[in-house]
Symmetry: C2
Subunit: 350 residues, 2 copies
Amino acid sequence: MARRSDRPTLRTIAEMTGLAVTTVSRALLDAPQIALETRQRVQRVAREIGYQPDRAARHLRTGRTNVISFVLDPHDELLGFSTSMISGLTRALRDTQYHLVITPHFAEAPTLDPIEYILRNRMADGVVFSRTEPKDPRVKLLMENDFPFVSHGRTDLGIEHAFVDYDNAAFARMAVERLVSKGRRRLALILPPDRFMFRRHLRDGFQEAVERAGVASELPGDINLDSDAADLYAWLTWRLRQPDPPDGMVCAGEVSALSLMAALSDQGLTVGSDFDLVVKQTSLLYDEVRPRIDAVYEDISQAGETLGKLLIRRIAGERPSALQFLQEPVPRFTDRGQGTRTAIGARQSA
Amino acid sequence: MARRSDRPTLRTIAEMTGLAVTTVSRALLDAPQIALETRQRVQRVAREIGYQPDRAARHLRTGRTNVISFVLDPHDELLGFSTSMISGLTRALRDTQYHLVITPHFAEAPTLDPIEYILRNRMADGVVFSRTEPKDPRVKLLMENDFPFVSHGRTDLGIEHAFVDYDNAAFARMAVERLVSKGRRRLALILPPDRFMFRRHLRDGFQEAVERAGVASELPGDINLDSDAADLYAWLTWRLRQPDPPDGMVCAGEVSALSLMAALSDQGLTVGSDFDLVVKQTSLLYDEVRPRIDAVYEDISQAGETLGKLLIRRIAGERPSALQFLQEPVPRFTDRGQGTRTAIGARQSA
DNA sequence: CTATCTATTTATAACGTTATAAATCCCATG
DNA sequence: CATGGGATTTATAACGTTATAAATAGATAG
């Protein structure tokens, strides 16, 4: 309480300059009705005493929270997906008035819960979430409420909305072409669970490239990218003993791919000679994994930064159709050598 | 603006019950001066219309933010360290009034910046940060301002403060004993950079165990846990060609250990027969990595949850000396087999 | 039946900000 | 020298909450 008084407010500045509180407020907001000379004087004083507007008071008065909410998916606990996302978001929000609040989504709860919470309590001015579904109820609800958001992932709702997505179809095509160029003739693709939109993109890209190349393919139904490591391991171990086992595989999950590699290795197969694998890489992990395997990079941190920037523009009123961004896959195939390795490292430390 | 009116406030309830706004406020706070019957009636109405107090208004009036701030370390971008931490924190904050705000710490800026920002602008009621230094200036500043915090990591300031830490000394001892039991006789330890407190704990535990076992040891000075993957790789490659190379190693970083394994593999050494490695594992990664190596588990998500719970108690006024917690290392050595694998998986999905 | 107490409710003000409307000032114009 | 008008400043009120002090009702005692 004693401490409360030492924090400068508009009143402090008003007393120092002999102006009214209202005038000081307008001056700091650079209102043209206030004389230029006055504005400059007030702003100088504010800077000198380190005045920072009180966010709560501002929120109360204006209704704006200056908060961006990120819905933390419970599934992202593995590896750095959310960290990269969050780190990218903070980069986008740097030097803006916006703060980043994490709204958790607990595993057992409906995906809609965190969104309803944000809407009902006016917790934020905008929201970011990931892992969209074709008929994503979150997108629908947010559109109905005309609430600003950018999703990580597209939908199939016939609605124009802001998104950042990775071109998973292009990734799958690229991966298939790579495997075919290495002489693989029976390819498998590990898909995400049914409900996700990016399952379609992956499957469509895969099918297209496989048909064009005229090689055999399969889409295992028992397991998916969210399966337990042990299940993935068990499935591949089993499959390799069946007739016509695949000789190449596309896997869009980093940790899942490790399980597959473990199964291959335990079955006595050597990746690179008996079998090939193309993985989607979102961390620096696969630069260090031996045997080296082909990877295609997805820059999650960059996606986070773009999500943040687009959301701010959306809040400012830009039309959603102008706020859509598709990330291109970046191949990091093994024969490219050391060069590309430093490329990522450099960006991340910058 | 039109929408603003449909959100229930104290006034809504006051009008519905015919009571004064003040009475409703006190009733919801369960003040004993309000008749029990009135309290119950008000609380029932509030529940029915889904009343939620406005955080900004409350903040403005009481000075409390109901916000916990987590300082996001720029170094945690790799793997899931921060995600696990954040996920644990959200678990601790669930069903409380507290929200989690991410305060970024950008790589080039002093560690003190985010703390000063929080203090100056009264951004939160408490703060969590990681990677403490022996004379950590953040701890000093927060203590001086009597501001609630819990650090992930201890300090050497001679001050009692709340912390959650991992027993890195015990980890190092455990790792050395494991390596010695496998017949290794020249051990190396990869240390964190000089400035961190946990460097001491690791080194002390390592030295103690090495001396007790009477084996040779070395502490490489050119590289550390924050070194680039390429530098770690280059160093070990070089070292293996020098006289008296180590035959066992302790590494407290997951990704760093992968670089070391890559170097070993590229030098034709097989982990498990020519060389042994004990790694500190904070994700499920090493369950899937081949060849299997010995790991000791650190549950970051659990640490996050504990940090959150202790911080809430600290804010409530408990003495710091009662809010200190040391996590015990959990060995996950290779000969334990499949059993322990499921143990972690089970906890994380629960 | 009045005075006094206790239990309960309420009015007032304030947190720091900004939108709206009103007030002041200064200068040019008739 | 009044008048009008533009430029600039200010008073008032409100956002939703809660702390403080004051008011009311009801009950008890004298």
